[in-house]
């Protein structure tokens, strides 16, 4: 599982360009920062008020006034800036974040996203997710392709939306998919799987790119 997560994170990292402003969700997306290609430096935004977030603080060296959106002590890089929450979401909503990487419960062929209400569980709140996916220039969903065998990539989300028409790309352990006006296009495949296996694990028609590549 940890390997799969790193495999996905590593592929997501290849989408990022030098100088990009990026907001990484908690969990798997956080791993993306560990896999940046050589020469690619990104500027991490944390919605609780940091531009230029650095790695987690070393034990014993924490600055108690500096946490990330997951409430863990972090560092900031030289050239960082702290700001309030209205400014933070002005940056997010205003399209100044080049990419955000989040997990999902469901994504559908329209690019609709559901990732905040789990049926039968307490509703934890959307936090900053709704603003992030509406505002970021590129929304990348990083997740396992299915949930205990159940489809997560669908014709239509059945769970309440986080936002509509926002997802640009989906990266799973099986492949890389782009959301296009025609539907979801598989552009890269993990060579450990066949196209039929990916199709079977997908709950909507999967368009296979004529230019399908190996996911590496």
């Amino acid at each position: 599982m940890a390997d799969l997560r790193d495999f996905i994170a590593k592929r997501v990292a290849k989408e990022l360009r030098d100088g990009d402003v990026v907001n990484l969700g908690i969990g798997l997306p956080t791993l993306v920062a560990n896999h940046l290609p050589e020469g690619v430096n990104i500027v991490l935004q944390s919605e609780n008020g940091i531009m230029g977030m650095g790695p987690a603080a070393e034990p014993g060296k924490e600055d108690v006034d500096i946490i990330n959106a997951g409430a863990a002590y972090v560092t900031v890089n030289p050239g960082a800036m702290f700001f309030d929450s209205a400014t933070s979401f002005g940056i997010i909503r205003g399209g100044h974040v080049d990419a955000t990487v989040l997990g999902a419960l469901q994504v559908d062929k329209h690019g609709n996203l559901a990732n905040w209400i789990i049926p039968g569980k307490m509703v934890p709140g959307m936090g900053g997710a709704m603003d992030l996916v509406v505002g970021a220039k590129k929304v990348i969903i990083a997740m396992l392709h299915t949930q205990k065998g159940n489809h997560k990539i669908l014709d239509e989300c059945t769970l309440p939306y986080t936002a509509i028409n926002v997802v640009d790309m989906i990266v799973t352990e099986m492949g890389v998919m782009e959301v296009t006006p025609e539907g979801i296009v598989l552009t890269e495949i993990n060579p450990e799987y066949t196209v039929d296996q990916v199709k079977e694990a997908t709950g909507c028609e999967l368009i296979i790119s004529p230019d399908l590549k190996d996911m590496i």
């Binding site: 006034d65 702290f82 309030d84 209205a86 979401f89 934890p124 997710a129 709704m130 936002a163 509509i164």
Partner: protein, 226 residues
């Protein structure tokens, strides 16, 4: 000039049952714990609390929740405090919590609007979701937006890092969060701060919250800790 410095208990003595209170911070980093503690001691009830999140039990607004003082919670995220779910689902009407979830950016902007005299704003956040229920949708240049309304409260409890005796306040690191907007959007503002300095000691270029917004200053706020 009026002396604004009080003890925490004196400061919160003006807060009565049923008050609406904005509380700064994010996961209680940037939350004035000494003011929360005083509010627990005062034990006022039926409060409406506006805060980014419900923190965790025993921290920040979590203390008010544990003590059964919150009737309505307006927040963007409550998932890390299991007491929220317990109190939302309780059959005991006295303990029952109403929880209103607002997207974090919309919450921050609504509070800003409340302080800045705006009647509302149009945001793309929440369009097509349950957040849009009951809200006016306006189309501007071909794009749909929700009309979100300003939010104000009777009180704001904010947390400063350095505050001068006029109330001018700075916030260190990620303690800033909702504090600056909340300071503008409440009828009565109390700042719990780590360090009180003389007027003139903070560079006018670096003040974040003007002293004109601050009614009461309480010193002795401690650093936040996980």
């Amino acid at each position: 000039m009026r002396n604004k410095i009080k003890t925490a208990d004196e400061a919160v003595s003006v807060i009565q049952d049923g008050a609406s209170i904005m509380v700064g911070g994010f996961m209680s980093c940037g939350t004035p714990e000494i003011l929360i503690d005083a509010l627990v001691r005062k034990n006022v009830k039926n409060l409406t609390i506006i805060c980014n999140d419900a923190g965790v039990p025993g921290r920040g607004v979590g203390k008010l929740l544990t003590n059964g003082q919150i009737k309505t919670l307006i927040a963007s995220h409550v998932g890390l405090n299991p007491e929220v779910a317990q109190r939302m689902n309780t059959d005991n009407e006295d303990e029952k919590l109403e929880c209103i979830l607002v997207p974090q950016g919309t919450l921050a902007e609504r509070i800003r609007a409340g302080g800045a005299g705006l009647g509302g704003f149009l945001t793309p956040t929440g369009v097509g979701t349950i957040v849009a229920e009951g809200k006016q949708v306006l189309n501007v240049n071909g794009k749909d937006y929700l009309l979100e309304l300003p939010l104000r409260a009777d009180f704001a409890l904010i947390r400063g890092s350095v505050t001068d005796k006029f109330g001018n306040t700075t916030y260190n690191g990620t303690t800033r969060t909702f504090n600056p907007m909340m300071a503008t959007a409440a009828d009565h503002v109390i700042v719990g701060t780590c360090e009180i300095v003389e007027i003139g000691e903070i560079d006018p270029n670096n003040v974040v919250t003007s002293g004109i917004f601050v009614d009461t200053i309480v010193g002795g706020e401690e650093p936040w800790q996980i």
